[in-house]
Subunit: 155 residues, 2 copies
C-alpha cells in the first residue's frame, strides 16, 4: 500500500467531538429559548436557581462546583437573580466571605414552575429512545465523562 493510500481522512460529521458539540448546542439553544421566553432567565441563571432550590443556603463557590460554572459566571447569574427578585443573599455568620443563597418566595414560585417544564423537555428529547436505550446512553456518557475529565486531560 502506498503512502498516498494510507492518508487518514477525517469526516467531520462522523467525528465524535464535533457531533457532541453540535448536538449539545442544538439542545442548549432550544432549552435556552424556552427559559428565556417563558421566564426571562438565562441558562446559567436557571442552573443557579436549580441548585439553590435544591440546596437552600448554598454558597456561590459550591454552586460553581455543582453546576460546572466558573465563579465569575456564578457571580453574574446571582447578581441577575437578585436584581429580578428571585434570590437573596445572606452572609455566613461563621465566615464573612461566604454567602448563603436562598430563593425568595417569588423565586420559589418560578422554580416550581420551571422544574416540570424542564423535565418535560427532557422527556420529549429522549422520547425516541426506549428506556433501555436511555439507560445505556446515560451509562456511556458517564464513561466518556470519566475519559474526558479536565483533571486528567488526554491531550
Amino acid at each position: 500500500m502506498s503512502d498516498e493510500e494510507k492518508k487518514a481522512r477525517l469526516r467531520l460529521r462522523e467525528f465524535l467531538p464535533y457531533r457532541l458539540s453540535v448536538l449539545s448546542n442544538t439542545v442548549s439553544r432550544g432549552i435556552a429559548n424556552l427559559y428565556d421566553r417563558e421566564f426571562g432567565l438565562t441558562i446559567w441563571q436557571w442552573r443557579v436557581m436549580a441548585v439553590t432550590g435544591d440546596t437552600p443556603g448554598i454558597s456561590a463557590t459550591d454552586i460553581g462546583q455543582r453546576t460546572a460554572m466558573d465563579k465569575v459566571a456564578v457571580s453574574r447569574a446571582v447578581a441577575g437573580l437578585i436584581e429580578l427578585g428571585y434570590m437573596e443573599r445572606k452572609t455566613s455568620e461563621s465566615d464573612g466571605r461566604r454567602s448563603q443563597l436562598f430563593l425568595t418566595p417569588a423565586g420559589q414560585d418560578i422554580y416550581e414552575m420551571i422544574v416540570p417544564i424542564a423535565l418535560e423537555a427532557e422527556r420529549k428529547l429522549m422520547a425516541p429512545l426506549t428506556s433501555e436505550e436511555q439507560a445505556e446512553l446515560s451509562r456511556l456518557m458517564q464513561k466518556l465523562a470519566g475519559s474526558a475529565s479536565p483533571e486528567r486531560p488526554l491531550w
Copy 2:
C-alpha cells in the same frame, strides 16, 4: 399522595441537557487547547480547514452547512486562515458572489498534520468504550440529533 409529595425534583447532575453540555464543553475545551497549542488555530478555523481539505473549491455558505457554523463565523474563520497563509479564495466564474476556497500548500501541510492528531484524540476519548459501545453511542446520538433538530423544535 398529597400534592406536596408529588412535587417533581430536578437533579441537575442527572438532567440530560446539562450532562450533554458539560461533556461537550469539556471535550471541546481539550481539543481547542490542542489545536491552539500545536497550530495556533481556533476550533472554527480547524473545522473550516477540515471541510476545505476534504472538499477543495467549496464555498463559504456550503462550509457553513457542513460545519454547523453560521455565515459570520465562517467569514471570520476564513479571513483568519487567509491571514495565516493557510487558505486562498477565488471568485466563482459562474457566480460572482460565490467564493471558491482552497488550502494553500502550507495549509495542506497543516491539514495533513492535524488529521491524525485529531483522530488520535478521538480514539483516546473513546478508548474506555468497547467498539460495540462506540457504535451504540453513535446510534443513540443520531437518534437524539433527529429528536432535537432545530428545524423541528420540541419546545
